[in-house]
């Protein structure tokens, strides 16, 4: 059974990789939703600027517009790497 198990675990990886990738991309796309059309571009440019100064992951910048009564608040979250 040993070699069969080996193939099985190889295969199991493919669906779980798909799931992980989907969770990341769907979360990212949802966060940009409902806001102004320029949000994704703004998010990318902020990321580029930050990456000029320090190395962060491509999904380090989270951006969204929150409505607070009459005000709209642009919320930008940047995750810096642990060794900072």
């Amino acid at each position: 059974m040993g070699f069969l198990d080996y193939f099985r675990s190889e295969r199991r990886a493919s669906a779980s990789v798909a799931k992980e990738r989907l969770q990341v991309i769907v979360a990212r796309e949802r966060s940009g939703r409902g806001g102004p059309d320029y949000l994704p571009a703004l998010q990318n440019e902020i990321l580029e600027v930050i990456q000029r100064y320090t190395s962060v992951d491509d999904d380090a910048v989270k951006i969204q517009v929150e409505r607070d009564g009459d005000c709209e608040v642009l919320e930008v979250n940047v995750t810096l790497p642990a060794d900072h």
Binding site: R11, S14, A15, E29, R33
Partner: protein, 268 residues
């Protein structure tokens, strides 16, 4: 009040038309006056899947333009009572459907039908937008595969922002997930996203799971909604789906591989 049900997906070729035909036939079979409307302008196909392609005289766009009235354009199904279809136009003019035109046609249909099932074209352009705009319910058809799931999520975003219900601040469009072309044996091998995975990612209510099935091709060859093939797995899965939509509780019957022993022994 008629309910407008859009069958949508974003991604093409995932089973919207198959589902529209089956779902419409299922609602009609349960006694509800049902019309299935083909929104795929330029790529009319619902007529073929429902086996009435030779009876098409007028279409959706003719009605919008006032060249025919609804009764002239509607085709009554010969097998199922209470079932009709409104075929799409084969025009190449992508702007043939207008918002006012669609609204007028749906209002006309609402007088004679309990359910208006709108078969959306693929994509998120005009046709898809108009198909979902007036919806009360949405059947989001998804294959267990990365691009289909991602597109479905995109469509969920549109349903919650670009529909009449959203714009008017009414109760949101009721979203239902239908996973199609599901292959339990491949899920078992870890090659395919499971229904649980898809539900978790999209976080919407699961209405039905339709297995990958040869019955679907057979039914489309014959021009018969697959739900009428009552012996087939896909037909039964669609029957369960319609029953759940109408409020019945039904177990999901096609989530596991029936082949059993062989596949258990050989990792199937």
């Amino acid at each position: 009040m008629a309910r407008v049900v859009v069958v949508t997906s974003g991604k093409g070729g995932v089973g919207k038309t198959t589902t529209s035909a089956a779902f419409g036939a299922g609602l009609a079979r349960a006694g509800h006056r049902t019309v299935v409307v083909d929104f795929d302008v330029g790529l009319r196909n619902l007529d073929l899947i429902m086996g009435c392609e030779r009876r098409v005289v007028y279409d959706f766009v003719n009605v919008i333009h006032g060249e025919a009235n609804l009764n002239q354009a509607l085709i009554r199904d010969k097998r199922v009572e209470n079932l009709a279809i409104l075929p799409a136009s084969q025009t190449r003019d992508k702007d043939a459907l207008t918002q006012e035109g669609v609204e007028k046609v749906l209002e006309g249909l609402a007088e004679d039908f309990d359910y208006i099932v709108c078969d959306s074209p693929a994509g998120i352009e005009r046709g898809a937008h108009l198909a979902m705009y007036y919806a009360d319910d949405a059947l989001v058809v998804t294959n267990p595969e990365v691009s289909s799931v991602r597109d479905s999520d995109r469509v969920l975003g549109l349903l919650s922002s670009k529909t009449r219900r959203a714009e008017r601040g009414e109760d949101p469009v009721k979203e239902h997930l239908i996973v199609t072309r599901y292959s339990p044996s491949r899920v078992g091998k870890g090659e395919m996203l499971s229904v649980e995975d898809v539900c978790e990612i999209l976080s919407i209510n699961l209405l039905g799971v339709i297995p990958e099935s040869t019955a679907v091709l057979n039914a489309s060859n014959a021009g018969m909604p697959v739900i009428l093939d009552e012996k087939s797995d896909a037909g039964q899965a669609y029957s369960d789906t319609v029953a759940r939509f109408l409020g019945e509780e039904r177990d999901h019957r096609f989530l596991t591989d029936k082949k059993g022993l062989f596949s258990k022994l050989f990792g199937g």
